[in-house]
Each structure stands twice: as C-alpha cells, then as structure tokens.
C-alpha cells in the first residue's frame, strides 16, 4: 500500500517536472520552427478529412433531432439560433477535442513510445539534440495551435450541416441562415470556444507526449501508450470542459 502511494507521488512529481520543463524549453533557443510546421501539417492538415465528416454529421444530426422539439412549440424558425449556440458554445470544441484525442493522441503516443522502445530518443540525445525540445515542445505547440483552427473549421462545417438539414424541410437562404447565426453568437461565446480549444489542444499534446515519452520498454509499451494517450486525454478533456463551463457561467 505504502509502495503504491509512493509510486503515485513519484508519478505526480514526474508529471510536474514534465510540465515545468515544457515552459522552460518553450522560451529557450534554438526554436524548432521547421519541426513545428511539420507537426502542424501532420496533426492539423491530416485530420481535416475525419474532422470534416464528423463536424458535418454532428451539425446535420443535431439539427434534425432538435427540430421536432422546437416544432412542438412552433419555434422551428429558432433552429439557426439554437444550433449556432450549441455548436459554438459546446459541440465544436468538444467534438474536435474528442476526435483529436483519438486520432492525434494515439498517433503521438504510439510514435513516441516506439521511438523510446527502439532507442531513437536516446540516439537523439547522444547526438547532441535535445529530444524534449525536438519531440515534445514541437508537438504540444502544434496541438495547441491546430486544435483551435480545427475547432473553427468544425464549427463552420457543423453549421453548414445544420443549414442543409434545415433546407431539407424548409425554405431558407444561406444568407438569412448565417445572419441569424451571427446575431445569436456573442463575443464571449467565441472567446469561450477559442479558450476551450486552446486548453484542450495543450492537454491532448501534453498527455499524449507524456505517456509516449515515458512508456515502458517493449512492444507491449507501444500499445499501452497509444491506449493511455486516448483514454487519459479524453478523461482530462471532459473534466476541463466541466470546469470551464462553471467558470464561464460565473463570468457571464
């Protein structure tokens, strides 16, 4: 029991050091600009097809499911306002974060742990390269930057899906749909969306890198790291969502 408690404390200390080191390395040169751009491409650009499909389906299905309830009160014309608030305030950041946890998190976890198992991280270190800066900082910056970009994209494509769902039953021009959308969204909603997605992006990057970087040796470690990256980052994203919702409610 005591051993388990000690191990838990050691793990917390290691996580703390890992986080502190990120901010230390972030501001010290040399800056890995080329690697950051490459990671943005890997993490951001390569996620577009999956994110597009998911965002569109979420918008379309959410609108379709909301219609009967609104129609019951004769408020079907409120659909654009409803979906814009739902997508911008909650669905876009959360759906993007969950999809990214699955796709990007597992990718980072598996990649880093397989590099760890095959001693590629050690090889980097002995050849005079700081592997933390090259592998971790670049990936965390890329997720922190690209998840908000993907979130905006998901919001846009989700709203488009919602629009298509509406016009499958009603007559509504795209101009009047988006006019209603922008009238319903306030600055605080957009701020909350960006803030959330930055937090989620940073979390996914840090958690996935941590489990990959400190994975156990052996091929089993690769599978475990990929799995833990997804499970742990999703879990933390949900907790953060809960906290941010409470904070935003207090602010507004």
């Amino acid at each position: 029991m005591r051993n388990k408690f000690e191990n838990l404390l050691i793990e917390f200390a290691r996580i703390h050091r890992f986080n502190v080191r990120f901010f230390k390395e972030l501001f010290t040169p040399p800056y890995e600009v080329k690697e950051i751009i490459r990671q943005c491409y890997e993490i951001g650009w390569k996620s577009f097809p999956l994110i597009s499909l998911t965002g569109f389906i979420v918008g379309f299905v959410f609108t379709k499911q909301s219609r009967p309830s609104l129609e019951e009160f004769g408020a079907a014309s409120m659909l654009p306002a409803l979906i814009s608030i739902a997508i911008v305030r909650a669905l876009a950041p959360l759906v993007t974060a969950l999809i990214a946890s699955g796709k990007v998190g597992s990718q980072i976890g598996a990649e880093l742990s397989s590099m760890n198992v095959t001693e590629q991280i050690d090889a980097m270190e002995v050849s005079g390269t700081n592997p933390y800066k090259y592998l971790i900082v670049s990936r965390v910056i890329a997720t922190t930057f690209m998840i908000p970009v993907l979130t905006f994209y998901v919001a846009g494509i989700g709203l488009f899906g919602g629009y298509l769902s509406i016009i499958s039953k009603d007559q509504l021009s795209m101009l009047s749909f988006f006019t209603q959308v922008f009238e319903s969204i306030k600055f605080i909603d957009l701020f909350a969306m960006v803030f959330r997605s930055i937090v989620f992006g940073f979390t996914i990057g840090m958690v996935s890198c941590y489990v990959g970087y400190f994975s156990s040796k052996g091929t089993e470690g690769v599978g475990k790291a990929a799995n833990s990256a997804v499970v742990a980052s999703m879990f933390i994203v949900f907790i953060e969502e809960l906290l941010i919702v409470q904070i935003m409610a207090l602010l507004s």
Binding site: S114, E119, Q120, D122, A123, E125, V126, S127, T129
Partner: protein, 257 residues
Amino acid sequence: MKKQVFDINYDDCVVDVQNVYKSFGERDILKGVDLKLYNGENLVVLGRSGTGKSVLIKLISGLLKPDSGEIDVLGERVNDLDDRELQKLRLRIGFSFQNSALYDSMTVRENLEFPLVRNKRNLSRAEIDKAVESVLEGVGLSYAINQMPSELSGGQRKRIGIARTLILQPDIMMYDEPTAGLDPLTCLEINELINQVQEQYKTSSIVITHDLACAKMVGDRIVMLLDGKFEREGSFDKIFDTEDERVRPFYDYNFIV
C-alpha cells in the same frame, strides 16, 4: 584475425570511471566499477547478458546517472555537467546502438544529416551533402542514400548507425553489441569497420559485446564484467588463461572446444 595495433597514448586517459555503483530497484547492477580508456585504444567489455555492460556506456555518455562514483570523460566530470554542457560533450562521443536506432521516418540521408544540421547550423547545403556522401562511402553504402531504414538489412542498418555517429567526427566511440544478430560474414565486416574507424578517425572506443571473435578482432585490451565488477583485464589470451568457472565456459561455448 590478429588485431592490428595503432597508436595508443597510455598517458592520456579519455574515460575514467571510478568506483561507480548503479542499481535498478532492488537489483544491484554495477558494484564499484573502475575503468580507464586510453587515447586511441579499442577497449572491449565482455560479460554475460544483463550484467550491466550497456548500462556502463549509458552512464559514460550521461544517458543514465550513477548512484555513486565518478565518471570523467575527456576531462569533464559527467555527473556535474548541466544539460547544455552534457549536450556539448556528447558531440565528442559517438554512440552506436544495439538495434542501430535509426529514425524510422527519415531516409538514410536525413538520418545522417540530422546530427549535423542540428549541431553545426552554419554549414552550407553543399558541405552537408559532402559530409554525408563521405561517411556513407566510408561504410560502403553510398547506394543506400535515399533508402528508408526499413529497406535495409541488419548489417546495413548497423553500418548506417555507425556512419551517423561518425558524421560529427567524435573523439570517443561506444559500440553496444555491434555484431549481435548478424551472420558471421557480416560480423567480420562490422569488426573490420570498427578497426577502420579507429585508424581513420583516431577514435578511442569502448566495444560492448559477448562475441569473442569480435573481442579478439577489435580489442586492444579486454575487460570482463563479472558480478557487477571488472575482475579480469588484459589481452584476449590472458583473459581466458584461467580455470575460473564463470569465465571458462564463455570461451568454450564461443569456440566450441
């Protein structure tokens, strides 16, 4: 098969390991190890699997920290260096890993360029290309420049791994099981390459192995790690001139006497 002896300066100790202890959990691996590597020398460290041979060279290159004891490399005390100083020292130490540790996502050219581009940022494209082509030619694999590591055989990967460390022209080389998992002819080629590196690049090397043919072919001096300590030291013939039951079977098995 007899090792050709190159210039060794026994007054210049490039690696000095003093009374080093290292354990992992409850398991004591190194129990007060002392070791000296002299300038220009190929030192072979023999020992059974799991006796801490690889741990020793990881301690020397600062990848692991000793529990106690001192390690001096090229006049610097490794234990006292901060990350930046350690990074600088490592540029003078080449490390060839047991499984080559080539970067899977990069071509051979990119693997070789990687340490150079990152540590000598003022080099022009032409200078980098020249350095890459030169080390590749040195290990006899010029044709593999655009191949991916997954397309190479075990022996080729070992050679590229060695070439990647040579590109920074290190003073000290560490070879971790250079012939493990290779056929006898490829082992022979790798052993010749290790001697060629010693001659051409004037390196001092530590070769970790349990392959006695390799030890005989590349070692100027051999030490044997037994129960966490170096208990035997000397030439190949001297090491095995014993009836010690921890040493003798090692020899008998390798040469199937």
